[in-house]
Symmetry: C2
């Protein structure tokens, strides 16, 4: 076993001072060529690498980013994370991930844990509970301490910080417009409780598109499902009791569940009922027929969030930039589950 070597070790062995070693390794003009060569050779031989922790303490920056996401086993968040990791890594940052599990308590604990020096900034998507309770003091306090935060996807207007969001409203409008253009009249929405900002936006887009086309909104055609429950019965009843031409689902699972039940009920997709889901994940690509979806470009979203954060962190001393909200444009991917 050969443990890591420090500046002190090199200094002792070569009979010079620690400062000389440090300067030599940074190629300082203060040190003579002979001494520099000697020190560099020694350092190289023993594979010297500066200790990150000591550097962090000295520089008051860790080059770590904290990422808090509600759930990692979820295609969208996973792709966002990949975008964050990729960009951060290119810029020399590491990523510490915590999973809030949709709980505000975990969100708070994890953030406070990391905020005590472990990271230079946060990227997060709010937990369901945080959105439900509308409780953001933990975020405000961190911002107050000067720790930059970037919110993505599940954001809130209560907090002033950089944000990255999808054009949910617009893309929902576009999806419904697509249904209408193909002749659908009875268009359903399958969504979650609307304390989620994204569901709310998608609902608005849905309603908007109907209004524009003078289609009367039928509240019965809006099915609200919960995240964690078994929804099969509700979905079955919904499609038994309502004549529907098309259905927009706010996530991939709902869309696949709907498609499966619709088919079991004897309807044809897309001829009897068209379906469009959100999140262009693996399920959508391998279903039969393939699912038309809204691609959220998670990876781009992650990269954008990381760039926003790193730009702000590396500009900390200069003039304060105003906060930005970047909008990622979703893409409607038309596949077999809707009529072209």
């Amino acid at each position: 076993m050969k443990p890591k070597i420090t500046l002190k070790d090199i200094a002792r062995e070569l009979d010079v001072s620690i400062s000389t070693v440090s300067k030599a390794l940074k190629n300082s003009a203060e040190i003579s060529k002979d001494t520099k060569d000697k020190i560099k050779a020694f350092a190289k031989f023993y594979n010297y690498r500066p200790n990150n922790i000591a550097l962090s303490l000295k520089n008051k920056r860790t080059k770590n980013i904290g990422v808090i996401i509600p759930d990692i086993v979820h295609h969208f968040f996973t792709t966002v994370f990949r975008g964050i990791e990729k960009y951060a890594n290119e810029k020399g940052y590491n990523v510490i991930v915590c999973i809030s599990d949709e709980s505000i308590e975990k969100e708070v604990i994890n953030m406070e844990m990391l905020a005590n020096g472990s990271i230079d900034g946060f990227i997060l998507s709010l937990s369901a509970e945080t959105q439900l309770k509308n409780e953001f003091t933990h975020l405000k306090e961190l911002l107050d301490q000067g720790i930059p935060i970037v919110l993505f996807d599940r954001v809130t207007s209560e907090i002033e910080c950089d944000k990255v969001v999808l054009n949910d409203e617009e893309i929902a409008r576009e999806a419904v417009g697509h249904f209408i253009k193909s002749g659908a009249k009875k268009i359903a929405l399958v969504t979650t409780e609307n304390y989620f900002n994204v569901s709310e936006s998608r609902r608005i887009g849905y309603l908007d598109a109907l209004k524009v086309q003078n289609i009367k909104v039928d509240e019965n055609l809006i099915l609200t499902l919960s995240h964690d429950m078994e929804n099969d019965m509700l979905i079955t009843e919904f499609f038994q009791n309502n004549k529907v031409d098309a259905v927009l689902c706010v996530n991939e699972i709902f869309a696949i569940q709907c498609m499966s039940i619709i088919q079991e009920l004897g309807f044809n997709v897309p001829n009897d009922i068209s379906i469009i889901g959100f999140t262009d994940g693996i399920l959508s690509r391998f279903s039969v027929p393939r699912l038309s979806t809204v691609a959220q470009h998670g990876e781009l979203m992650g990269e954008t969030a990381a760039k926003l954060l790193i730009d702000r962190m590396e500009r900390l001393n200069e003039v304060e930039e105003p906060y930005k909200t970047k909008v990622i444009n979703a893409t409607l991917i038309k596949r077999g589950s809707s009529i072209n």
Copy 2:
């Protein structure tokens, strides 16, 4: 903006020494009750929290774990990660994730980056390229430096360290046995290049099960696909050219692709051809019919790996424990794609 407060700040304000503050906050018997109360109240009021970086430097341990995985957008790795994060968090550790992207270079760079003080130990699954090239000096060097490593799933016998693996061979045998019991004779295997230890083990299990039942191995019934290519043509030809009763696929995607193509070719699943896949992910649960799979219990695997690592790290000074390899027992989940 109110920046973080330090011991020094408290000491200055309260006109005591830094050591007194430190001791008071740790409730040391050395300090009088009066002084302690005063200091605690002040610290609480200003929300004092010790700086993690300073603690890390002092204690020579970061309470961070480095996790290196080949790919995060992959159900199995994601669940393992969740297990790691969950257990680590309970024990007060944070998790720094790097994605190797199946590249040995990234694996090396990331590990060296983190090894310079940022983490206390690693949990990783080898990249494809690392397995292909059989190149492990980076791991050996880190172990040499006294940094503990736990390998999971994609492991190698070249490295001595704690490991967590699936009983791949056995479960493949069981799956094939299940096929045979239901009357299948022509049993195919759809797998990846066998430099992956897991594919290799599954292949051995497959061959073994056939041998035990005196079924002659037909090399034509083993289809080797690559990870990144479009395999649809190969799969189609395979099922056109070979009479097959059942097929075992080493991952979920292959299984779904096979099922889809098999159905397109006019066969019935499971009556004409049974299918079992690996990885009990979301695809398997929502396909029609639902896919019989080998559940790899990723979360348990992650927890086990994290426990192994943390146990070793927290036992560092005591006697060296011999390295362990924990085997996670996979479960064969029988659903609609195979005959019971």
